[in-house]
């Protein structure tokens, strides 16, 4: 069965993709929590220089040396930008935007100049092609295992160990760096370690999906997790699941439409994000719409109570405090009027007497309180009326 797995190209592509998703979600969640998502953009570009320089110095195109070189280059881009920003000669964003393009440009030029020997062209670095991972395998326990899969698996394990062992420290330094520093947890050092892990993960992933698509797996599922959950473990879980789902969905769609597999997988992380943007309990579109409707209903109930209070005990009461009057005088469509009346009845604010509505004690008290507040506000001298309150022009 295992043999069948390693001989099946789709299985290997899916497995590699899954490893990319898992390995990226781990540091990605913390990176996004710390507000450093764009640092990963700098790292992803800067590692190219590290890989090329390591190759020029050692001649190795894969293995530990390029990984080390790339990780160092990734760290150097972030630390270099921080140093530049600290000189206060430019803003933080400008410093990032200066350092990584310069490093990336140098990397691309070196690739251009050595193209014939390096067997690496600039497109591959940026894009990778997960569809070809099975071309490059090594013998392991009798099976031909793709190299990319091995490195990704190792990196995923390292990331999992890092997050598992330093869970408490990472959590504290991500949510409250000041407290973490005060307790002696060295959040700065931890941040550097995290960035180093991001660099290493980027190197492992770039063979499979390329550096820019790696960014999608690093950032987008993490943001999805944060939209949907409040707990750290849940965020991480959602990030991993949404990454895995994107791999499967992306593979299917890529085959169907005959497009880039890595690109489609990365694009599919956006589907998870889209769902989260709709369904997030705090800021999702659905939640916002529901909240807005609840607010609108509350405002109309208030209007209803004030309307009833204004006419209660007057000769026109029998005529004004009816459902028909609400529809006619307040210009409420019948279904809206009904909904408002039902809400008020449910909350025990009004009572029904045949065709007529009457305020309950709570309803009466609330209407009186609102009317008083309104009177007080109108009695204020005009310059003290807070700007933007309704009726302040009266």
């Amino acid at each position: 069965m295992i043999e069948a797995l390693f001989q099946s190209v789709p299985a290997m592509i899916l497995l590699t993709g899954a490893l990319v998703a898992l390995a990226s979600a781990l540091p990605g969640t913390f990176l996004v929590l710390r507000g450093q998502a764009m640092a990963s953009d700098a790292i992803a570009h800067a590692i190219v220089l590290g890989i090329v320089l390591a190759w020029m110095l050692s001649g190795a195109r894969s293995g530990p040396l390029p990984v080390l070189g790339a990780a160092l280059a990734g760290l150097a881009s972030v630390v270099g930008a921080q140093l530049l920003a600290r000189s206060r000669l430019m803003g933080n964003d400008a410093a990032i935007g200066l350092v990584f393009p310069a490093m990336f440009a140098l990397g691309v030029l070196l690739i251009n100049l050595n193209a014939r020997n390096l067997h690496l062209d600039a497109d591959t670095v940026l894009l990778g092609e997960i569809g070809f991972v099975w071309l490059h395998t090594v013998e392991l326990a009798g099976y031909g295992v793709p190299v990319a899969m091995l490195t990704l698996g190792a990196v995923a394990l390292v990331n999992a160990a890092f997050v598992g062992l330093l869970w408490k420290e990472l959590k504290l330094s991500s949510f409250d760096p000041a407290l973490a520093a005060a307790l002696g947890f060295r959040p700065g050092l931890l941040g550097l370690a995290l960035l180093a892990l991001v660099s290493v993960t980027a190197v492992a992933a770039f063979d499979a999906v390329g550096v820019v698509l790696f960014l999608a797996f690093l950032i987008v599922p993490a943001v999805t997790g944060q939209l949907l959950c409040r707990g750290l473990a849940a965020m991480l879980g959602v990030a991993m699941l949404s990454g895995l789902a994107s791999v499967g969905l992306g593979y299917g769609l890529a085959l169907r439409w005959d497009v880039s597999i890595g690109g489609m997988m990365a694009l599919c992380t956006g589907a998870g994000l889209g769902l989260a943007l709709l369904a997030s309990p705090r800021s999702g579109l659905v939640a916002v719409l529901l909240r807005r409707r609840a607010l609108a209903l509350e405002a109309r109930v208030r209007v209803l109570l004030i309307h009833l209070a204004a006419h209660q005990g007057t000769p026109v009461e029998a005529e004004e405090n009816t459902l028909e009057a609400l529809e006619e005088h307040l210009r409420w469509p019948p279904d809206m009027a009904q909904a408002v009346v039902l809400a008020a009845l449910d909350q025990g604010l009004i009572r029904r007497h045949a065709q007529r509505f009457e305020l309950s004690e709570t309803g009466q008290a609330r209407a009186t309180a609102w009317l008083r507040a309104e009177d007080r506000r109108r009695a204020m001298p005009p310059e003290r009326v807070p700007a933007g309150t309704p009726g302040s022009d009266a």
Binding site: M38, G97, A105, L109, L113, A115, G263, G284
Partner: protein, 372 residues
């Protein structure tokens, strides 16, 4: 070879135009702290570039420009919506939009790959100056002139919202509309440079000239002019150098030229530059040491209760805890201390002059007198 130089002139002109525009609009971007938005817009233009190619069926300059503008604009709006509407942190919003738009670009590109007339992805990603035609140059010039005219016409407004958006709003300026317009102009500048610099590196052409210019001057007008000049210089240098050797992508060479300008500016700019700062620090340290030597001489006078006391150098060294020699010659040249041979062996002694006493300051002298 007249033909080669003809191409080279075209390319150099295009690069100069693009650099000028990038420098002008990059200045606003950098001052408003939105440098990374430029990065996102330029990466996000990729699907638009490919789409423009798909629709027109060729590498038609204007349709690619339009497609890129559309995608870049959409990306800018998405960032804004993700931040304000969905409440994402700014960097998360930027990262998400960059990654997803770029992925969409890759997917679209894999669709057109291999179609007749489709250029290699390398051209879109890293730029190729030689791909700019004479006819494109006219279109570029027209667009650039339009953008520059708009910036000039709305100069005061742009200046106001760049430095104090709140005050501009209070004055009744349509700040949101102006910000959007500025964003669109930045997107146009980015898109115009894509053919030369490529989507990945275009951001540096916006940021680097502006940051370099900022080191030399303190006024917006001079910064914009200087940035335009730096941008044009880097553009032309990149285009010409990359045209010399086959296989050199234009974008990286331009970016390295622009980065070199930044490095030079950071080092050598007067006042702000690192060398100027070092010099300032060195002068301050020298002045402090000199003052310490004067104070030591004065202190030894007080210790000996003799206003004309002369001190030996070794005495001064012991008093200061460091060697006084480097300062002594200089202070003597400035006339603050006097060298005298004194004592039975005629050894060199040092004494404060009146000028030295004056330099030490009336305040110090007063406190000494009251203490005595």
């Amino acid at each position: 070879m007249p033909e080669l130089s003809h191409t080279l002139v075209t390319v150099a002109l295009a690069a100069a135009l693009m650099g000028t525009l990038a420098g002008v609009l990059g200045s606003f971007l950098v001052l408003r702290g939105q440098a990374l938005l430029g990065d996102v817009i330029s990466h996000a233009a990729l699907p638009g570039v490919v789409l423009g190619f798909m629709v027109s069926g060729s590498r038609d300059f204007l349709s690619i420009l339009l497609g890129a503008l559309l995608a870049g604009g959409l990306a800018g709006l998405s960032v804004q919506w993700l931040r304000r509407g969905a409440g994402l942190k700014p960097d998360a919003a930027l990262g998400v939009v960059l990654a997803l738009f770029f992925a969409a670009g890759i997917v679209l590109y894999s669709q057109v790959q291999g179609r007749p007339g489709s250029a290699g992805l390398q051209v879109f990603l890293f730029g190729q100056a030689a791909s700019v035609l004479r006819t494109d140059l006219m279109a570029m010039a027209l667009v650039a002139a339009l953008v520059l005219a708009l910036v000039l016409a709305l100069w005061k407004e742009f200046q106001f919202i760049t430095f104090d958006a709140e005050a501009a709003r209070a004055q009744g300026l349509p700040v949101s509309a102006l910000e959007t317009l500025l964003g669109v102009l930045v997107a146009v500048a980015i898109v115009l440079g894509l053919a030369l610099a490529g989507v990945v590196l275009m951001v540096a052409m916006l940021i680097a000239p502006a940051v370099a210019a900022r080191q030399w001057v303190d006024r917006l007008a001079s910064m914009v002019l200087l940035a335009a000049g730096f941008g044009a210089l880097a553009g032309v240098a990149g285009a010409v150098i990359s045209a010399q050797a086959a296989g050199l992508a234009t974008g990286p060479v331009m970016v390295l030229a622009a980065s070199a300008l930044v490095a030079l500016s950071l080092l050598f700019a007067p006042g702000r530059g690192l060398l100027a700062r070092l010099a300032l620090r060195w002068r301050a340290r020298r002045a402090l040491h000199g003052r310490q030597v004067l104070a030591a001489l004065h202190g030894l006078e007080l210790d000996h209760a003799n206003p004309d006391h002369r001190s030996e150098e070794t005495m001064l060294d012991a008093y200061l805890g460091t060697r006084a020699a480097p300062q002594l010659e200089r202070l003597a040249r400035e006339g603050l201390i006097r060298r005298e041979r004194h004592g039975p062996e005629g050894r060199i002694h040092w004494e404060l002059t009146d000028a030295g006493r004056a330099r030490l300051g009336a305040g110090a002298a007063d406190s000494d007198r009251s203490g005595a």
